[in-house]
Amino acid sequence: MMRNVIIVVTALLVVASTSVDAADTGDVIYSVLFPGWGQIRAGRYGRGALLVSAEIITLTGLMMADIQYDRAVEQYDRARAFYLNARYIGDAHYYFDTMNEKWDDAENLHTYRTILLGTAIGVWAAGVADMMWGGGGDGPPLSLDVSNGGFIVSKTFSF
């Protein structure tokens, strides 16, 4: 798991460091800081909102899975300590079953945590890659047309 994360991040690092010229550096920096931020700054609101939403949902899920995982680990450790110190066979069986149950919970939550972490990295990588190779905005995000006795503000969306 750890090795995969390091490989993915290192690959991104290498690719990113060789091809920053394609996009506005400032927007790429914002996109590195948080997925979608750079897109919003560049006027690509739809894509930016999509990336921001995806990252927020993924990070929220990741945080919840992480909290639940830590809780399952604590419960497992407690059940294990009770099992190892049991002085009655009934208690030993009870805590052995609880320990196995919490182990399974921790394993499942660890899997969810890994998937969500991978998704968060994927969304982040997609955001950065999009800023580098996705093409810049074709025009300014806001335009002002002055007409007789008034003006029109128009906003350009790009998906």
Binding site: M1, M2, V5, I6, V9, T10, L12, L13, A16, S17, V20, T25, V28, I29, V32, L33, D66, Y69, D70, V73, E74, Y76, D77, R80, Y83, L84, A86, R87, Y88, I89, G90, A92, H93, F96, M99, N100, W103, A106, R113, L117, I121, W124, V128
Partner: protein, 130 residues
């Protein structure tokens, strides 16, 4: 600049992964070998007392530390220790007549590990008043 920021994000992610808690290794299996459960457990009513008796395998006697005698409270599904003995019988005295008492017995080995308790035996104690 961008390279540095990507590095910071990468380090943060790696820290997040590596700083999480880890569960210790799961024991391979159930390691306890409890002493046998006493068999033929019987409770007999006496006047303000209850007499309990049971049998126990002779081959397990060398590793026996004691027998534990418990009251059993069915409404709470709980036990309370009455006393201990090294014999295969026990007399519980100073009880209240016409009241039902329920008992369970278990064996404890020399490593102070207690085996399964017997099934519940209930007895209604005789009253001393005539």
């Amino acid at each position: 600049m961008i390279r540095a920021m990507i590095c910071v994000v990468a380090i943060a992610l790696v820290c997040f992964v590596s700083c999480g808690k880890d569960h210790e290794g799961l024991p391979t299996g159930f390691d306890y070998d409890p002493p046998p459960t006493p068999s033929d457990f019987q409770a007999t009513a006496g006047v303000e007392q209850a007499h309990l008796s049971w049998s126990y395998p002779a081959e397990s006697l060398p590793t026996l530390l004691e027998f534990r005698v418990y009251y059993y409270y069915s409404i709470y599904d709980m036990v309370e220790l009455v006393g201990t003995t090294t014999e295969t019988e026990f007399t519980d005295t100073q009880l209240i007549g016409n009241v039902e008492y329920c008992y369970r017995v278990s064996a404890v080995d020399t490593s102070d590990f207690e085996g399964w308790r017997t099934a519940v035996q209930c007895v209604t104690v005789l009253s001393g008043f005539r």
